[in-house]
Symmetry: C2
Subunit: 338 residues, 2 copies
């Protein structure tokens, strides 16, 4: 049987299609009695408006884009989960697109997607949230954008993030309180907004505690397990290695852990290792990682709330918004007294 349309409902309810439309969109100016009656018929017939017809006539869209570069990280999965749940709540759906910054046709493909789907909004995750060619394209088309895990405003996008700086200070203070003074730091990709803040938080905490930072103990990294292992190798290869390592994310911390295991350095007895993110893998390590919980699903929910807000969708009057979400320190067994 063909799907139920607005006409079927109108006929069955004895009103015009326009009235049904008004009820479905919760518009004002419908007598309560009529409203209730229509709603009853809708339920009876199990009527669901066709999203394509709706979008075509209103040039609104019920699709929100979630763009990311690396879907393989637990990060992307967590963001997706939060976004999906909230989309359902607002009656939207999530379209995922992989954006490969190095792909020669990526921008062209995005542009194709935008015109074909006329997305109601787009969520951008790191690192592509800082790719200006992309944000310019989105801006140019007037598409509402929310950037996750970046506090860099600019353009008309809203930003949602935790206080990476303070969280990194907290984590460093945790180590200092445990008696550590020889602390190494493994950086993320420094061009990411969050990575820079985490480094700054570490440095400032050390400075405030009057502890010097050894150059060789600030190691480069790119947020990958492999780079964490390399950093661990560099840091732990000498006899006077530090008593603690703070990696800018959990994957790298895991790499440091493996590097330590390789050298038979006991964690946390001879070395404390801490991470950042509370990724699922942080609990699959041994010992489990002390880390900072970054509630990515919550960040994503907030992003959807913003994008689904009709008033935000009006082009033009999009005030710069910056939302900060609380983080949590998670003490586990990978860190101990110096």
């Amino acid at each position: 049987m063909p799907p139920v349309t607005i006409k079927d409902v109108a006929r069955a309810a004895g009103v015009s299609p326009k009235t049904v439309s008004r009820v479905m969109n919760a518009e004002a100016h419908v007598r309560p009695a009529v409203r209730d009656h229509v709603l009853r018929v809708v339920a009876e017939l199990d009527y669901r408006p066709n999203a394509y017809a709706r979008s075509l006539s209103s040039s609104r869209s019920y699709l929100i884009g979630l763009f990311f570069d690396d879907p393989a990280s637990g990060y992307a999965a967590e963001v997706q989960l939060g976004a999906m749940a909230r989309c359902r709540h607002h009656g939207y759906h999530l379209v995922v697109e992989r954006i490969d910054r190095d792909g020669p046709e990526t921008l062209d493909e995005v542009s194709r997607t935008l015109q074909a789907l006329q997305l109601a909004g787009v969520i951008l995750t790191p690192p592509i949230c800082d790719w200006s060619d992309l944000t310019d394209l989105l801006d140019h088309r007037g598409i509402p954008v929310v950037k996750l895990n970046s506090s860099r405003t600019g353009s008309s996008a809203a930003v949602i993030h935790i206080d990476d700086y303070q969280a990194a200070r907290d984590m460093t203070d945790h180590l200092i309180t445990l008696g550590h003074r020889d602390i190494a730091f493994v950086q993320g990709i420094v061009s990411h907004d969050a990575a820079g803040k985490r480094l700054a938080g570490f440095c400032d905490a050390m400075r405030c505690a009057g502890i010097g930072i050894r150059d060789a103990w600030i190691q480069a990294g790119d947020f990958s397990f492999r780079s964490g292992m390399a950093a661990g190798d560099a840091i732990l290869s000498t006899n006077d290695h530090p008593s603690a390592v703070f990696a800018a994310n959990d994957e790298m911390a895991l790499g440091v852990l493996v590097s330590a295991a390789h050298r038979n350095i006991a964690v946390p007895k001879a070395l404390s290792v801490v991470g950042f993110d509370d990724a699922p893998i942080s609990r699959m390590a041994w010992p489990q990682l002390t880390t900072i919980r970054q509630p990515n699903a919550v960040l994503a929910s907030v992003a959807i709330d913003i994008l689904a807000d009709p008033s935000y969708q009006q082009a033009g009057d999009r005030p710069a918004r910056s939302v900060q979400v609380p983080y949590t320190f998670i003490g586990r067994s990978s860190s101990g007294p110096a």
Copy 2:
């Protein structure tokens, strides 16, 4: 500026909208010269057909649904990556939906989604690919379905999978060849098609080699790290523990690894541990896991190819299809001689 429409192209090319439509859809019966000319105008104006209008008039859809239960696993991410890439190739887009089998309104929400979006097809991943209420709903609506990592046909869905049985036999033979005879097995959720096959492959390999299987060494598990750790604890708590453990996936193998570390059992010296899937985490362990590479991105690509095939979309004549994709044995350092 408002988007370019088919009328704009028609006017600029001096043909009717219908001809432009024919060109865009690569239909026959257009003179090559006209075709080329239209194509040139399309490129010039950067015209992209509006997907909503297209779908509304043709009641075809350019959206494919990817349904899963647990997006947090690396598995979902890998599937997504393969699906996204292939969707782009075919001009489709991926809509992700989380399906919580235990949610009271899940089926209702799916039904709502189906009517609103009229998906061109749906990819089902384990475990929901075996949820008959869901597959019935999809069947009832005549929506093409492809199930991943399941070889259970039934209904009209296509299935795509590796040879889990043979892969598990191969892995078991690997251990046997290394000299192991005391081998434990950690099961996945037995109701999953693949989990059953892996167990069967293990048992048959042991039987063929004339090796007995001790009951206490077949441990239950649910594919989670936690369950792997519990199984490891059960298996390794006695002094005469096995010399090798084969876990039905990598996450559980990691749990066994941690359980062994806990007891100071050296891997692979005193214990070989092998997994299945070649999940990203299998390389983040120490030692790295010997495993079976299951090319999930490839399975997903194949699924998209099937769903994007116009002939497959015609309701009715959907022949049962079962595609088997090759797997790869990955020898790493977590397994060694008995």
